[in-house]
């Protein structure tokens, strides 16, 4: 036991160091638990299947005759939204079921005892875990999403109008979900938090579709369902912003008024006010999580 203890670091330096230690540990956990490999297999499968599907579009024989290259690209842009939704769902499942056990699971099993008894602030532990999950989820969705866009580009020569914005919004959607999963895991069991997070993700998407139908039918009451749900949990709002950045602008013209009721078409881009709300939502959720974690007996 010849190890030497470093001089006491200042509080801020100590917090930053412990945040990065915990963030790296969380990334390590993701690779060791093979979550990353499971996601990779699913994504490769999805990319392969979609590559084959997209390659069939040009010249496809339909009841209206062969698809022109323009029609193919239009259809590809809609199908890309559909595939990207599948991709974001895979990441949502992955991060939700990783975020729950990484905090709640460690609290339940007792792994946290020895760690939190170290000279670390609880906020560093929480923010470190959050940061690790953010890096994991964001890098993954950006790489997988970019790969999907390249597949569509190669097969049907379609390239989204704002690919970077789309990937950024998908990453933000992932961050919202994992923050929710962390918050829930500080309150309920890790498994319940994972299930609830995925359930809320699905419910918000359905509420968004219902709201879109309400808007198409000019029914304000039904349309408000989508608006309220997008405020309470901004995943669907972000997803719609991402779709708008992915889809062919001609799609809205072609579909006309019906586009609002169509689940894989977005009629408007994300507003700056909504983006601000999303950032605020993340800060509020993380703060609530921190308050809950700091008060919790370990």
């Amino acid at each position: 036991m010849k190890a030497t203890t470093a001089a006491r670091p200042s509080t801020s330096v100590a917090m930053v160091r412990s945040i990065f230690t915990i963030a790296l540990l969380t990334l390590h956990e993701a690779t060791r638990k093979r979550v990353i490999w499971a996601l990779l297999v699913l994504s490769v499968l999805m990319l392969t299947l979609s590559a084959w599907g997209f390659s069939q579009l040009p010249g496809m024989d339909t009841s209206m005759g062969h698809l022109t290259s323009g029609q193919s690209r239009l259809l590809a842009s809609e199908l890309l939204n559909l595939v990207m939704f599948g991709m974001s769902m895979i990441v949502a499942l992955g991060t939700a079921f990783l975020a729950g056990p990484t905090l709640g699971g460690e609290l339940e099993s007792g792994v946290s005892l020895a760690m939190v008894a170290r000279p670390v602030h609880r906020s560093s532990v929480l923010v470190g875990k959050w940061l690790g999950l953010v890096i994991f989820g964001s890098v993954y969705i950006c790489l997988a999403g970019l790969a999907q866009m390249v597949v569509v580009r190669v097969t049907v020569s379609y390239w989204p109008p704002s690919p970077m914005l789309a990937l950024g919004l998908l990453a933000l959607e992932t961050i919202v979900l994992l923050t929710l999963a962390l918050l829930l895991s500080s309150l309920i069991s890790p498994l319940a938090s994972g299930i609830t997070t995925v359930g809320l993700f699905g419910a918000t998407w359905v509420a968004g579709v219902v709201g879109g139908i309400g808007a198409a039918l000019n029914n304000d009451g039904v349309a408000r369902v989508g608006t309220v749900s997008a405020m309470l949990l901004p995943t669907d709002g972000l997803w719609r912003g991402a779709m708008h950045a992915i889809q062919d602008p001609n799609a809205l013209i072609q579909l006309g008024g019906a586009s609002e009721g169509f689940p894989f078409v977005s009629t408007s881009s994300l507003s700056a006010a909504y983006f601000t709300w999303v950032v605020l939502w993340i800060v509020i959720a993380l703060t609530l999580c921190l308050v809950s974690f700091r008060r919790r007996a370990i």
């Binding site: 036991m1 010849k2 190890a3 030497t4 203890t5 470093a6 006491r8 670091p9 509080t11 100590a14 160091r17 412990s18 230690t21 540990l25 390590h28 956990e29 060791r32 638990k33 099993s109 007792g110 792994v111 005892l113 020895a114 760690m115 939190v116 008894a117 170290r118 000279p119 670390v120 602030h121 008060r295 007996a297 370990i298």
Partner: protein, 348 residues
């Protein structure tokens, strides 16, 4: 002197006056005052004050649910006290940096199952801001007998191996204070002896140890001082010499008359079974340190008793002296506590 406090006198600090304790709290390994914790309607810990000096080994004893683990967790910032104050190594316990040179083996020892043993040590080294080489980690693992399992995942370890790893984790960062909560609960007899030797070697190096253990023999062998908790309160505390000051003498007697009985009772509490008479000598009859063979007042009392009994015509054919064991002392205190609680419940 025995500092066996009543339930209302909760300070487990040794004899020094309060002002001295307050003055020196910065120099202590652990100082806590008035620690209180309530879970729902149950008082887990009630206004506990105690201290551990640097280089001292203090045992924490008590029945299940006495509040020992909760007290330890409050000291280490794992449970927020409802009232009271903690200082670790001279710094307020509310500052996480007070735990910079504190090692902890929890009662529930679990480490990341997806990490290897050496990776767990590396993680704790980073969290303790310690410059630690691969050799340092191997040395720690060697100390707990896990040097051959350094690269193995913790998930594949037995409970005993995980507890050994927990001991190594507690030693990370060259701590000045180590808190061991039931450190041998999953260990085999050999492992228990190794832990005992480890605690003794820590004491030799001037490391303070707070040891919570149900194994009274373990505590008796290694601790300088003992604090006994019952129903969340400190009910007794002191050095082993203070706590175990009472001595017993067992006499094998024949022809015991009523006068002889009176003489026996005059020396202390008498228990009688067939020809065996066990006399518990009062607290004041001992002033020697534990383990010393000095001729103290207890020895003199036994000599006088035997001489008087012989003078009364009693046939004395056996005299065996013994100290009250820590186990007897603990059981006596806890049973007295249980009786008073039962009486209080009945009255209410």
């Amino acid at each position: 002197m025995v500092s066996h406090n009543t339930a209302d006198e909760v300070a487990a600090a040794p004899a020094p006056a309060q002002s001295q304790v307050v003055d020196s709290r910065e120099s202590l390994a652990v100082w806590c005052s008035g620690l209180t914790k309530r879970f729902g309607r149950r008082d887990a810990v009630r206004s506990v004050s105690m201290e551990v000096r640097r280089g001292e080994v203090v045992g924490l004893l008590g029945a299940n649910g006495a509040g020992k683990t909760t007290l330890i967790k409050m000291m280490l910032g794992l449970v927020r006290p409802d009232a009271g104050e903690v200082m670790l190594l001279g710094q307020p316990g509310t500052d996480p940096m007070s735990r910079l040179r504190v090692g902890y083996l929890p009662e529930l020892f679990r480490y990341q199952p997806w990490l290897s043993a050496k990776e767990v040590l590396k993680l704790h080294g980073q969290l303790a801001y310690t410059q630690q080489s691969a050799d340092d980690r191997l040395e720690l693992l060697r100390m707990v007998g896990l040097q051959d399992r350094a690269a193995d995942r913790v998930g594949g370890f037995s409970k005993g191996m995980q507890q050994r790893l927990g001991l190594a984790v507690a030693l990370v960062g060259d701590p000045d204070l180590i808190v061991l909560d039931e450190p041998t609960s999953a260990l085999d007899p050999l492992g228990r002896v190794e832990v005992r030797d480890l605690v003794l070697s820590l004491r030799e190096r001037g490391v303070a140890v707070l040891l919570n253990s149900h194994l009274i023999g373990e505590v008796e062998r290694v601790c300088d001082r003992v604090v006994i908790l019952d129903h969340g309160r400190v009910v007794a505390s002191g050095t082993l010499a203070e706590l175990l000051g009472q001595r017993k003498v067992t006499l094998r007697l024949n022809n015991v008359t009523e006068r002889a009985h009176e003489r026996l009772r005059a020396s202390g509490h008498v228990e009688h079974e067939q020809d065996g008479y066990t006399v518990t000598l009062p607290d004041g009859s001992s002033d020697g340190e534990v383990g010393t063979d000095t001729f103290d007042s207890a020895d003199a009392e036994v000599s006088r008793l035997v001489a008087d009994l012989v003078g009364l015509g009693v046939h004395v054919y056996g005299v065996e002296r013994s100290r009250i064991s820590l186990e007897d002392r603990l059981l006596g205190i806890l049973r007295a506590g249980a009786d008073s609680h039962a009486a209080r419940d009945e009255a209410s």
